[in-house]
Symmetry: C2
C-alpha cells in the first residue's frame, strides 16, 4: 500500500508530497501543527485539538486555510486513504509561499498539509517498566504555548535524551523548575499523593492528553495542584509520569539516573494510564 498525503488542496502520493522552497514554514518556521491520535479509526479528542489549532493560528495571525468542518473531512479522508486504524494524523499550517521577507506577506495563502500513519511499534515493556528522563536547561523561546514548528531546541533536547539512554528530556527553567519534556508534558506525584503538573502558560504547550488526564484526576478525586515543580522535588517524588498524544501516559522511573520512588511505575501512574486508555477506547 502506498501512503497518501493531503497538500494544499490535493491528495498526492506521499513520496511526491512537496511544498515550495519559499513556503514560510521552510524558511521561517512560520507555521503551526497538531498531532491527533487515531484509535479504531476514530480521532481522539478532536475538538480540543481544533480549539488549540485555532488558538495557535490566531496568536500568529495566520488565517485558518479551511473551516473546521472541511478540516475534519480532510483528516478522515487522509486516515481512510492510508488505512490507519490505530495511529496518528498530523496536520501543519504555514503562512504560505511568498518572496523571502521577515514581515507577514500581503498576499500569501496559508498552506495546509495533512498526513496519517499507523502507530509505530512501541516496545510494550515501556509502559510496564517505565522510562528514564534526563533534565536539561530550557533554552526555548518564551511562547511555548503556541504549537509552532520552530522545534529546533526540542530536537536538540530529544537527541540529548536519546544519547543519554533516556526516553525524554525534561526542560528546566531558570528557577530550576521543570517546564515540560521536548514533546511531552511532565507530572509528578508527591509523597503526600498530590498530583502536580505545571499550570498552562507561556512556558508549556497545553497538551490535549494533559487536559484529558487533568479531567480524570479531578473526576477520580485525587489531590491536584497545577504549579511549577523543581527538579529536586521531582527526584524526591513518589511517582512521576509524562503524557503526549503519541505516547499516552508513560511512567517515569528514573530522573538523571536516580530512581523515582521505588524505581518502578507507581500505582497512581498505572491507574491514570488505565483510565486514559479507557477514555481513548470509548472515543474510538
Amino acid at each position: 500500500m502506498s501512503r497518501v498525503a493531503y497538500v494544499d488542496g490535493r491528495y498526492v502520493p506521499h513520496s511526491l508530497a512537496v511544498v515550495h522552497i519559499e513556503d514560510r514554514g521552510y524558511q521561517f518556521a512560520d507555521g503551526v501543527y497538531e498531532v491527533l491520535a487515531v484509535v479504531n479509526g476514530h480521532i481522539i479528542d478532536e475538538e480540543p485539538h481544533l480549539v488549540r489549532l485555532a488558538r495557535s493560528l490566531s496568536q500568529l495571525r495566520i488565517v485558518q486555510p479551511v473551516s473546521d468542518a472541511a478540516l475534519k473531512i480532510v483528516m478522515r479522508e487522509t486516515i481512510r486513504r492510508n488505512r490507519v486504524d490505530d495511529g496518528i494524523v498530523y496536520l501543519q499550517v504555514t503562512r504560505g509561499v511568498a518572496p523571502r521577507d521577515h514581515a507577514f506577506p500581503r498576499l500569501a495563502k496559508p498552506v495546509l498539509v495533512v498526513t496519517a500513519r499507523r502507530k509505530r511499534a512501541i516496545d510494550p515493556r515501556i509502559a510496564d517498566d517505565g522510562v528514564a528522563v534526563i533534565t536539561i536547561p530550557d533554552i526555548r523561546w518564551r511562547r511555548c504555548d503556541i504549537k509552532s514548528v520552530a522545534l529546533l531546541p526540542n530536537v536538540l533536547g530529544k537527541q540529548l535524551a536519546k544519547e543519554a539512554g533516556a526516553y525524554e528530556a525534561w526542560q528546566v527553567d531558570q528557577e530550576d523548575c521543570v517546564t515540560e519534556g521536548t514533546s511531552t508534558n511532565a507530572w509528578i506525584v508527591t509523597a503526600e499523593g498530590t498530583v502536580v503538573t505545571r499550570q498552562a502558560g507561556n512556558a508549556i504547550l497545553n497538551g490535549i492528553v494533559r487536559l484529558a488526564v487533568l479531567d480524570i484526576v479531578r473526576r477520580e478525586n485525587y489531590s491536584l495542584v497545577e504549579r511549577p515543580f523543581t527538579v529536586r522535588e521531582a527526584k524526591a517524588a513518589s511517582e512521576a509520569f509524562l503524557t503526549s498524544t503519541t505516547l499516552d501516559l508513560l511512567p517515569v522511573v528514573r530522573i538523571d539516573g536516580e530512581p523515582v520512588g521505588s524505581g518502578m511505575p507507581g500505582p497512581l501512574s498505572r491507574k491514570l494510564r488505565d483510565c486514559y486508555l479507557v477514555h481513548t477506547a470509548a472515543a474510538g
Copy 2:
C-alpha cells in the same frame, strides 16, 4: 527571464523548486541558512559566511552536504543563471528528509537549497534620512548565535516594527539591554564618541557586516567597546545604526519614537557606511 533555484543537486525553475513535506526544515526548523551579498556579480565576504555556515552546522551536528569548493561553484552558477549583478544569494541546509521524529534520524541526507535574486529597490532616502526602530522584548531561544531557520520570533518582531511604522525592532533582554534587531545587528555611538555594539555570544547572531564594520572601526582608530547597552543608553546616544547583509549600514534616527541625537543620521554613521560601501565595491 525565469528564475532558477538549486535544490538538492539540481537546478530547477524557481516556480517548481520544492522540498518534501517531511524535510526536517519544514517540520522542525531543523536547518540553517546564510544570505550573501552580490555586488557587480561578486560575492561579498564569502569566506566568513562559509566559516559561519560551518559553525552553525557543526553546532547542530548536521553534515555539510557539499564541500566549500562545490558550494562556491553552486552559488556562482545560481547567480549566473539568475543574472544577478547586484543582489543576494540565499542558501539553506536542513538535516534532510525522514519520517517525523524529534531525535536526529539515522539515515537522512542533508538537503541544500540555493537561490539568488536581484536587489530589491530600496527607497534611496532610507540611507540619507535614517530609519526608525522600536524596542520589544527578546523572546527568542538562547542560541541566537546559530543561524537557524527557527525564525518565528524574528518574524513576529519584524511585523510589530512594520505595524509601528518602524523599519526594525530591537530586541531587549531581561536586563533591559538590546541584543539585536530581528534581522540586523544594533550599534550606538555614545556622547563621548565611542562605538558600542553587543559582543558576540549566544544572545546575538555574529553578523558578517558586523565583523566588517568592526574591522573598519578599528582600522580608522575610533573608540570601540563590544558590550551590551541598555535601551536608555541607546536613546541617549549621539548616533545609532544597524547593519545587515541586505541593508549594509543604515543610520537609526528614532528609537520608540524618540529622536537619537539630532534626529538626523550622524557623521560617524555616514562615515562608516561610506567605508563599508568601499569595502564591498572593492570586493565586487
